[in-house]
């Protein structure tokens, strides 16, 4: 037998992040509790190294490795870079919150970094097996992080629900993959795609497998009717973990939808388009209407995530490269916006005070005008109000849907955005027109204030200069 040494260059970022995560794990053993900041800085350093190595590969072009099971292309580079950036932002926001709750531990960052590794594996996977293993690596880290605050019964309940439903979703996905494997005889995405070109006639069995794959993906994305875990996990987990779960993994989820449905099963587009339309319409409806009834802002943002997933699916189901690029833009912008919104909750929280009720935002305009302004930008961006980047993201997705002549779907999505605007604007109304209910001090930390300000202002900047990011997305899709 012969064995060719695999090309290790495309997986350099993964190797570096894995090695550094192990360094953090070991270094943490020798630190005293008051030196825990070292683990934090090492984790940030890991993300920086990963980002630099990823960018270093940006001009390499499309490269396959490990027997066609790993790919490094423009899409992988772009999405991985944003996964690093968003995770690093999340770590900055959550440091004080973790310290005040006694969960500022090395394991938090180790699990976070392993989750990032899982996302990287998902983004550059080019075989069902790699994709599934990356997904499990991410999920397992997330289950543990949700339960990280062991003394909170709500967090344990959330982790339990997440674990059970996540396991069922993995089972569904695997069953679908096993049928596709049984029909095509290969786990590699490129081989499955070639098989579909050859024999499109036997599509009943393929659609059978496809529907299980879509159910599994919808579970992981949180699309209705597979969204049951999302509100409980968002509300029950510590806010710093909610930030982690609600931002970067959405980018990775977009990536696996692209790899599986578009690159692998693209020839079945006519079949999965209908399924995604149902998921998108239900997500837009349920997410926006139920969010109105929430009084807890974390739960409200959970339902808002569901409606944003609906929008994300709109771009993908259009089935054009313009639609894919629009969806990619949407996923990245959503991750940045959600990071800012959860960061704001973390900023207002302090010891013994979670700041997770909508009423806690009352009168923020009076108490701290600058942070209220940043929150206003973030909420406007989520609602899709012009002058913020959320408008441009929604517009590009909708124009992709209109191009493929699904006019009714575009009109419906706009109507649901109007419904959604109500609960985002309500936060702004509470901040500027109501009297403050609490006078909890807002603790000032220069690094968090700086990053949060940049994060908020990015919503404005990207609206005026969306061209750069958009052209990167288009380039990543067309490559």
């Amino acid at each position: 037998m012969s064995f060719a040494m695999p090309d290790l260059i495309p997986v350099m970022p993964e190797i570096a992040v894995l090695a550094m995560a192990c360094v953090v794990l070991l270094a943490d053993l020798f630190l005293k509790d008051e030196q825990r900041n070292v683990s934090y800085y090492l984790a940030q350093l890991t993300l920086l190294i990963g980002l630099l190595l990823t960018l270093n590969l940006a001009n390499e072009g499309s490269r396959l490795s490990f027997g066609d099971s790993v790919i490094n292309d423009q899409m992988a580079t772009l999405l991985k870079s944003f996964i690093f950036i968003v995770t690093a932002i999340g770590f900055v926001y959550s440091r004080r919150y973790l310290k005040e709750r006694g969960i500022f531990k090395g394991e938090y960052y180790v699990l976070g970094l392993f989750g990032v590794l899982g996302m990287m594996v998902m983004v550059s996977s080019y075989s069902f097996l790699t994709l599934y293993l990356g997904l499990e690596l991410l999920s397992l880290s997330q289950y543990a992080l949700v339960a990280f605050n062991r003394d909170s019964s709500r967090a344990s309940e959330a982790a339990m629900k997440y674990f059970v439903l996540g396991a069922i979703a993995s089972g569904m996905l695997l069953y679908g993959m096993s049928i596709l494997y049984g029909m095509s005889g290969s786990l590699d995405i490129i081989e499955v795609s070639n098989y579909l070109i050859r024999e499109l006639d036997n599509d009943v069995a393929l659609i059978f497998g496809l529907s299980f794959v879509i159910v599994g993906l919808a579970f992981k994305l949180g699309a209705v009717p597979f969204h049951m875990w999302l509100p409980d996990v968002y509300q029950g987990a510590p806010t710093s973990v909610t930030l982690y779960v609600g931002t970067a993994p959405k980018i990775a989820a977009f990536a696996i939808v692209m790899r599986l449905l578009v690159e692998g099963l693209g020839h079945l587009h006519g079949d999965w388009q209908g399924m995604l339309i149902i998921l998108a319409v239900l997500s837009l409806t349920v997410g926006n209407f139920i969010a109105i009834a929430q009084t807890n802002i974390k739960r409200m943002l959970a339902y808002s995530t569901i409606s944003h997933v609906g929008f994300l699916l709109l771009g993908i189901l259009a089935g054009t490269s313009q639609g894919y690029a629009a969806s990619m833009f949407y996923a990245i912008v959503y991750a940045l916006t959600a990071a800012g919104a959860f960061g704001m909750i973390l900023l207002l929280a302090n010891k013994d005070f979670e700041a997770e009720e909508l009423d806690d935002f009352k009168g923020l305009g009076e108490r701290h005008p600058w942070f209220a302004f940043l929150m206003l930008l973030l909420m406007f961006s989520m609602a899709g109000v012009p002058l913020t980047v959320g408008f441009y993201a929604k517009l590009s997705v909708l124009s992709a849907v209109v191009r493929v002549e699904l006019y009714w779907l575009a009109i419906y999505a706009v109507l649901m955005s109007v419904v959604g605007a109500y609960y985002y604007l309500r936060v702004i109304k509470l901040m500027y027109f109501d009297k403050p209910l609490t006078n909890q001090p807002i603790s000032q930390q220069w690094d968090m204030n700086l990053v949060l300000s940049i994060n908020g202002l990015l919503m404005l900047v990207l609206f005026f200069l969306p061209g750069g990011l958009m052209s990167l997305c288009i380039k990543a899709i067309n490559f």
Partner: protein, 198 residues
């Protein structure tokens, strides 16, 4: 019906029935034992598929190690079955409806003949799938193998992070101190004046 088919249907029936019993019996210990039976008959089915290595690994790892540990846990915990079954009747109609729709759809697909791709050629008698597995596991699938290893590492880190508690008030013994003790720490000689007898 060939002998192979007879064996297949026998083990398939045992698998299905015991899997059904896992979720219907009242006693959790019985449920765990039925799960053992399910795994065992699955292993027999894999044997029919010529996946000998996987079949034996299933018996050794799942039946031999995982399920025995699981039985220990079930016997140690006092699980309240009545509470677990709360709301069963309430969920039954919707659950049964969904299950019925799914089963009928799957049956429709399977009887449509979409899966009739013909039986694969059996491997020659000298073929060893343990060897075949060994050849690709550390070469073609080394990347996936490493990721699986990382998943196990995460499981260890997560399990320890979630369960290890340092209690501050527990009383514990320090063997080093116990060993290095000398006479002066334990025995105090007190000089007393002898009592005078009068």
């Amino acid at each position: 019906m060939t002998f192979q088919q007879l064996v297949f249907f026998l083990f398939a029936a045992v698998t299905t029935l015991s899997a059904l019993r896992v979720i219907t019996v009242r006693n959790p210990v019985h449920a765990a034992l039925f799960l053992v039976l399910t795994f065992f008959s699955c292993a027999a089915l894999w044997m029919l598929l010529e996946a000998e290595f996987l079949a034996i690994a299933l018996v050794l790892v799942y039946v031999g190690a995982v399920m025995v540990l699981f039985l220990f846990v079930v016997m140690m915990l006092d699980i309240n079955i009545a509470r677990l079954r709360e709301g069963f009747a309430g969920y039954l109609p919707v659950g049964a409806l969904v299950a019925l729709i799914m089963v009928s759809e799957m049956v429709l697909v399977i009887v449509s003949g979409a899966f009739d791709t013909g039986a694969p050629e059996p491997a020659p008698a000298t073929y060893s799938n343990t060897e075949a597995l060994g050849e690709v596991l550390y070469t073609d699938y080394v990347y996936q193998f490493e990721i699986a290893a990382v998943i196990l590492l995460v499981a260890i880190v997560a399990a320890i992070a979630l369960t290890l508690r340092r209690r501050t008030r527990t009383k514990y013994q320090n063997p080093a101190q116990q060993v290095s003790v000398d006479r002066d720490d334990r025995v105090r000689l007190v000089k007393m004046k002898p009592e005078e007898r009068d």
